[in-house]
């Protein structure tokens, strides 16, 4: 089901709406946000220079660093009294990034997430269990309001206490699960441990996963754990932009539809900042065009994707962003080859003998880069034959996927570092 008529506007209608909202936003931000006005003045751009959509490229970028520099409210366009909600990122490095919502912003957010939930197959018939951590994190409350808005029954179970989560699923007849892909897999594991078969004893048919990359390998794992008939869709967002609700996959699983009446996407070359033509892969930059509290202009997401403008079979006309292939700040260049940790992760996840945690170490030996991948053994073995066979098969698969030779180091379980927020799995020890 398509939630809003805006989702099927013609390209011309979308662009007209975007231009109108962009002009209004730039005017307002120039007037209300001194930090962004200074940036515009520094490059000599005035709000009246924005005459058509392509003039967006004249505007300066906003980065996470800008948010830190103006912590906590420096980029807000309303007074604090007009905010009705504050959220913040985990802030694993340095100060957290703070975001705020006016009453209208919460309505916008709810609308955006309602659309994404419908794309992922949700309806008012569903019992939706939200296994995202509630709190300062935007994920849980974002999905909560969106799903509630379409009439689903919400089970706000948050994260943790996995056995109880399974009990709720069984007793309340949960049909829809909101979680990170890795927590969804963990829940299936726990179910099996306590003698509940997720495929037979539970009725979870829809998975709305987010907050982590959903690789094809992960989606495959989800089907193995929860059943082949589960519709697993990923959705995308970040607190700086709003939280979840920026984009989501429909049942055709061919990229995530961006709510283009609220966000204008661009793809840039992460090194030069130059805007790339439609269809090329690069860093996603998003401009919020209907937000009051924190209307970020040209926010650099650091996520790598491409935009697809061809019409989707679902009938929605909003462009799609390909499922993420990594983050620009995570991309490594090893012996001239672009390597995304997600590619390595995909290989590791395809081995049942290995745990899902890993560490990538890049060193330089003379003029040559060396790649080492540390992985944990999922099961112990008493046989060298088995160990050598695992190393060899992982090495071969990495070679096929990346075209690079890697040293595979097997480690005991729980020796690699664990992360609660965003994982830092790369150690680049080459001197710059």
């Amino acid at each position: 089901m398509i939630w809003s008529k805006e989702e099927t506007l013609s390209r011309a209608e979308i662009e007209a709406l975007q231009l109108e909202r962009l002009k209004e936003t730039v005017n307002r931000v120039y007037e209300k946000v001194p930090a962004y006005r200074a940036k515009m003045d520094a490059v000599g751009v005035k709000p009246e220079d924005i005459k058509e959509l392509k003039d967006l490229a004249k505007l300066p970028f906003v980065t996470k660093q800008d948010m830190r520099d103006t912590y906590p409210f420096g980029l807000f366009a309303v007074e604090k009294k007009d905010l009705v909600r504050i959220h913040a990122s985990s802030g694993t490095t340095g100060k957290p990034t703070v975001v705020g919502y006016t009453e209208n912003d919460l309505k916008t957010w709810t609308e955006c997430v309602s659309r994404i939930a419908c794309m992922g197959g949700a309806s008012k018939e569903d019992v939706a269990q939200i296994c995202f951590g509630y709190g300062m994190f935007t994920g849980a409350l974002g999905l909560h309001y969106g799903l509630e808005n379409i009439g689903a029954t919400i089970v706000p179970s948050s994260t943790g206490n996995s056995e109880k989560q399974i009990m709720y699923m069984k007793d309340f007849g949960t049909t829809l699960l909101v979680a990170t892909p890795s927590y969804a897999l963990r829940l299936a594991e726990v179910a099996n441990e306590i003698g509940v078969d997720p495929k037979k004893d539970l009725n979870v048919k829809i998975g709305l996963v987010g907050s982590e990359l959903l690789t094809d390998a992960m989606r495959e794992e989800m089907h193995k754990a929860w059943g082949d008939d589960m519709l697993v869709t990923s959705n995308y967002g970040m607190s700086e932009l709003m939280g979840p609700g920026v984009s989501g996959e429909c049942e055709y699983l061919c990229g995530m539809h961006i709510n283009e009446d609220y966000f204008i996407p661009e793809i840039i070359n992460p090194q030069t900042g130059e805007v790339l033509p439609a269809g090329e892969k690069g860093e996603l930059v998003i401009t919020c065009i209907k937000k009051e509290g924190l209307p970020l202009i040209r926010y650099r997401t650091k996520d790598i994707t491409r935009l697809i403008y061809e019409k989707c079979k679902c009938g929605r006309t909003f462009c799609r962003m390909e499922n993420l292939s990594g983050r620009s700040d995570d991309m490594l260049k090893i012996r001239g080859v672009n390597v995304f940790p997600s590619q390595i992760e995909e290989v590791i996840l395809s081995f049942a003998e290995l745990g899902p945690h890993y560490e990538i170490i890049v060193t330089r030996d003379g003029y040559s880069d060396k790649l080492e991948i540390r992985v944990e053994l999922a099961h112990t073995t008493d046989s060298f034959g088995v160990l050598q066979d695992i190393s060899k098969r992982v090495k071969n698969k990495i070679k096929v996927i990346l075209g690079l030779d890697a040293k595979i180091s097997l480690e005991s379980p729980n020796t690699l570092q664990r992360f609660e927020g965003k994982a830092k799995r790369i150690k680049d020890l080459r001197s710059k």
Binding site: T380, T381, D382, S383, F384, L387, S391, L410, P413, T415
Partner: protein, 142 residues
């Protein structure tokens, strides 16, 4: 009779073996025999101890990759050629040996710890032949 061997995977990192041994020491797990085999990247430590289950639990708590493996602890006479006789007997019966190491008690009784392709069959063959093998309970009592 089949006995339990404690097998521990260890990365080739300085002090890693010492860490295993200190866990065993803290928990008063006594080592009767051991074998350490390694490649350039990792090693496998195989131990016959008085309490293999305790050793495994404590090592696992400390994050070691560890397991109990079925092995045969076979009594052989303390004289030249006895090991050769045992091996020919196993070979004649189609049993392949994966690895083995020795265990001696007070310099009197000699045993060989052995992991074979078909451990159950080897155990039966030896029992039929009247060769003494030790269970984990008997080892604990040593």
């Amino acid at each position: 009779m089949v006995a339990k061997q404690l097998s521990v995977f260890i990365e080739n990192r300085q002090g890693r073996l010492g860490e295993v041994l200190s866990v065993l020491k803290e928990n008063k797990v006594n080592i009767l025999s051991l074998s350490l085999a390694d490649t350039t990247e990792y090693g496998l430590l195989r131990l016959i101890v008085n309490d293999p289950a305790l050793g495994k639990d404590k090592l696992a708590e400390d994050g070691f990759s560890t397991m109990l493996t079925d092995v045969l602890v076979i009594n052989i006479s303390h004289e030249a050629g006895s090991l050769q006789d045992l091996l020919s007997f196993l070979a004649e019966n189609g049993i392949n040996i994966e690895y083995m190491y020795g265990l001696s008690i007070d310099g009197q009784e000699a045993y060989v710890v052995l992991k074979a392709s078909d451990l159950k069959k080897a155990d039966e063959m030896l029992a039929k032949k009247g060769v003494k093998t030790l269970s984990s309970e008997q080892i604990s009592a040593l």
